[in-house]
């Protein structure tokens, strides 16, 4: 009989685990537990059961979403690394690459807004620099309940401060993102963070534990009992009011992460030949990073847990393996070059500790106080049984799209004024003002534009980036809504003059075991995929957040699309604001009466209803290409896509931060100024370029008006005109969020 190490004295025995079904608390099902017993030909001990529970959680294994993710198109001439790594990588020429990924931190942020959001930023940055890339920008995509609710205000303030607190301190600019409000997110706010990095292709790293005998190096913060079982925690529904979830919160240390980031990049650049694999410790920290690296290489791994740097005393193997302490990295390093790599970290005041080795037997083995406390197959641990998911179309989706909401238009000027104050449309400047958007001195287009634009020093190039969510549309029609999210992201990129080159995503959904929710997931991804193919923007990374439910009520199906574009000549970038009086205003595409799912429907009825009209993906692409060509030939001097609030809001926004107004005439009912039709851009052209521009666009764009010196926005329609003072509506637009936060 071996002696049980002291810290493990109170753990239930394998028999007790079986009898009391302890694993159920960790979201492992009885069927899964039985499979593990069969595979091992014995009962797993406490540590092993914990390893499986974490690794087989949806958060780590994607077991439920995999059938959908597998359908994503992720290959084209630019793709150097698709899904399956810390982040995806795209070739941008000159031996450089752009690296990006998005990640959700919804559940942690709901419980602990500041730290949840902060560690979300920290986590996604580690994904980027684990690839060997220098992070250059962060974007955040947020969804909250209605702003008139006190809980929402608390969440908004905490989450914004958390993103700022981490991103500003580590010195990576937060350049963009978006924020929306809908009651559906009341108990389940969404915090999706995207990070973008720049890589010299020669430095590219992957998470692979290759080379028998190579050493496993632990770098960064010490391990404490933070967020034990955070991974499984993120994969279960919320019961409002359950306090025990609260222990799962981690605290971030951006100062330490900056040291870890700089040293990791330095080690990779200067000792790339010694480093075999790099992975950050994220969800289910040590076990997930080490097991995945071994599985990727088809090797085994032996870890000596006594060597793991520990912040607290008496930690058990279970706690050490599942802790989600932040700011930690795992490196696999050639056995004879450990010292040179470790030195880079030591010079930065960090410790790099050799905690184990790569083995040839495919086993995942942990030793603790001289005993083997876990011994399982790597491959079995990292590959949960395939799941067959059921799907059924929700009833609401059978409605006829020809039934569109009929807006009330008693005073269209007032409607426009009010729409601009809606929380989802109003300026978010008072919120993103807390983010350092300029550090690193590359930000050409700051938050507030259609997409952010970050130049690449030493080249004439720039990267455009944006995140977009179309939750209302995906709710009304998952497939069309998914496609619209990609189309809108691409329009935002195009409006700056950049060509869209790739996508990352965050799939925020409810409980996947509900066949209707699985249907929504599947169809939204189909829509995303179809549009991505047409636009030649492969999906190279992403993240899934399921179980976004409170008391059994799921959020809208909400895929977030993050997109990156490439601009060859940064001097040719365009922005949304009008540039000169008398410039000609063109509309690319034609407005249709699309009112279901609009901000107008929401404002006038308080809800979202009906089905969506489909749209032609090839026309979408043509319009984007036209705008790109116009910008490239320097015929277009401002560009803005039409999104929430429709053409009226788009035109209003183009007057903001300028001294100009506009005169526009359309031969349609005034309500159509608020229709949210796809594939539309508004662009301006100098009068002297009129002929050239019209030759370029043919009948795909129409002259609709003129920029004026008079600060008045006049929008003429068949039945009624809109006529508002642009300074007044701008004031409402700028002040609405502050006002709502303070009342």
């Amino acid at each position: 009989m071996v002696k049980v190490p002291e810290p493990m004295r109170n753990e239930p025995s394998p028999e007790e685990i079986k009898k009391n079904k302890v694993y159920l608390d960790w979201a492992l099902t009885t069927e899964e537990y039985d499979l593990i017993c069969d595979h091992l030909h014995r009962l797993p001990n406490y540590t092993e059961t914990g390893l499986f529970a974490a690794m087989w959680s949806e958060h780590c294994s994607y077991k439920k979403s995999k059938p959908v993710l597998r359908k994503f198109w992720s290959q084209n001439e630019r793709v150097l690394q698709g899904p399956g790594e810390g982040a995806g990588v795209l070739d941008i020429g000159d031996q450089q690459a752009v690296v990006f990924k998005a990640e959700s931190h919804n559940h942690p942020s709901a419980v602990e807004p500041y730290e949840g959001a902060a560690t979300g930023v920290g986590g996604i940055l580690r994904d980027i620099f684990s690839m060997g890339a220098q992070p250059i920008a962060v974007l955040d995509s947020l969804r909250f309940g209605e702003l008139n609710n006190n809980d929402t205000k608390h969440l908004v303030n905490g989450i914004i401060a958390g993103i700022a607190g981490y991103g500003n301190a580590i010195g990576i600019p937060t350049v963009g993102g978006e924020i929306g409000f809908d009651a559906t997110y009341q108990g389940n706010p969404l915090v999706n963070v995207m990070a973008v990095g720049l890589l010299n292709q020669a430095d590219m790293q992957v998470g692979k534990a290759e080379g028998i005998g190579n050493r496993v190096l632990y770098v960064g913060a010490k391990t404490g009992r933070d967020g034990i079982h955070g991974a499984t925690f993120a994969s279960s529904d919320f019961d409002s009011g359950v306090e025990k979830n609260r222990s799962a919160v981690q605290v971030g240390d951006p100062f330490l992460e900056k040291l870890v980031m700089d040293a990791t990049i330095k080690a990779i650049r200067e000792h790339g030949d010694a480093i075999v694999g790099v992975q950050d410790m994220g969800a289910a920290g040590l076990v997930s990073s080490s097991a995945e690296m071994a599985d990727e290489a088809g090797t085994g791994v032996l870890l000596d847990l006594d060597k793991v740097p520990q912040r607290e005393t008496n930690m058990t193997p279970y706690e050490l393996m599942l802790s989600e302490s932040q700011e930690r990295m795992l490196l696999v390093v050639k056995a004879n070059q450990v010292a040179e790599v470790a030195k880079v970290f030591e010079d930065a005041g960090l410790s790099a500790v050799d905690i184990g080795e790569v083995t040839d037997n495919g086993k995942y083995v942990l030793s603790f106080e001289g005993q083997t406390v876990a011994d399982v197959d790597v491959n079995y641990l990292t590959n949960p049984p395939k799941q067959v998911m059921q799907e059924t179309a929700p009833k609401r989706l059978t409605q006829d799209a020809t039934q569109q909401y009929q807006p009330e238009m008693t005073n269209a000027s007032q409607t426009l004024t009010d729409l601009l104050k809606q929380s989802t449309i109003a300026s978010k400047a008072t919120l993103f003002r807390h983010f350092d958007s300029m550090v690193r001195t590359n930000t050409v287009i700051k938050p507030g534009g259609d997409a952010a634009l970050v130049r690449i020093k030493g080249t004439s190039k720039a990267l455009a980036m944006t995140t977009d969510i179309s939750g209302r549309y995906t709710y009304l029609n998952p497939k069309i809504g998914g496609a619209l999210a990609v189309a809108e992201a691409a329009r935002n990129i195009v409006a700056t003059g950049a060509t869209p080159i790739g996508i990352t995503d965050c799939l925020n959904f409810g409980d996947p075991d509900d066949p209707e929710i699985y249907y929504e997931l599947d169809k939204s991804c189909e829509g995303i995929n179809d549009m991505a193919k047409v636009l030649n923007t492969p999906i190279i990374s992403g993240n899934v957040s399921l179980y976004n439910e409170t008391d059994g009520q799921a959020i809208y199906p909400t895929p977030m699309v993050g997109m990156v574009g490439l601009l060859d000549d940064v001097e040719k970038a365009t922005t949304i604001n009008f540039k000169n009086a008398d410039d000609l205003i063109y509309l690319v595409g034609e407005v249709r009466p699309d009112f279901n799912g609009t901000e107008l429907q929401k404002m006038q009825t308080g809800e979202i209803k009906g089905n969506l009209n489909d749209f032609d993906k090839n026309i979408e692409k043509q319009h984007q290409q036209l705008v790109l060509a116009g910008i490239k030939q320097q015929l277009i001097n401002s560009a803005h896509d039409v999104a929430e609030g429709g053409l009226g809001v788009t035109l209003a926004e183009m007057t903001f931060n300028t001294d100009f107004g506009a005169n526009v005439k359309q031969a349609h009912p005034v309500s159509w100024y608020f229709a949210e039709s796809p594939s539309l851009f508004v662009v301006t052209v100098k009068p002297e370029n009129q002929t050239k521009f019209e030759k370029l666009v043919g009948d795909q764009a129409r002259l609709i008006g003129k920029v004026t010196t008079d600060p008045q926005l006049k929008l003429v329609a068949l039945d009624q005109d809109i006529n508002v003072n642009k300074n007044e509506i701008e004031k409402g637009y700028q002040e609405a969020i502050t006002w709502q936060l303070n009342h």
């Binding site: 730290e115 404490g224 609260r246 919160v249 971030g252 100062f255 302490s325």
Partner: protein
């Protein structure tokens, strides 16, 4: 008038990055015998209440409602009545 002093510190297993950095700062400055430093918050609140019992209740309510983050922090307090 009552005067409450509230001392808030991180729960034991919660990381205190500030404390760590201050500790290493002090160590570098030559204070070598430091075992640990924890940074917390300190509040001084002056408020009116009907009596000591009521003051105590109010103070605890304030602390738990706003001053601490129950996820990560614990607190102590002391309370006294101020002369006019």
């Amino acid at each position: 008038m009552y005067f409450g002093r509230v001392y808030v510190s991180y729960k034991k297993s919660v990381l205190d990055p500030q404390g760590e950095v201050i500790k290493s700062g002090l160590t570098h400055m030559g204070f070598e015998k430091i075992e640990s430093v924890k940074q917390g918050k300190y509040f001084e609140i002056k408020f009116a209440a009907t009596d000591m019992e009521n003051a105590k209740q109010e103070l605890v309510k304030m602390i738990e409602a706003l001053l601490i983050n129950a996820n990560t922090e614990t607190y102590r307090y002391d309370l006294k009545e101020l002369g006019d």
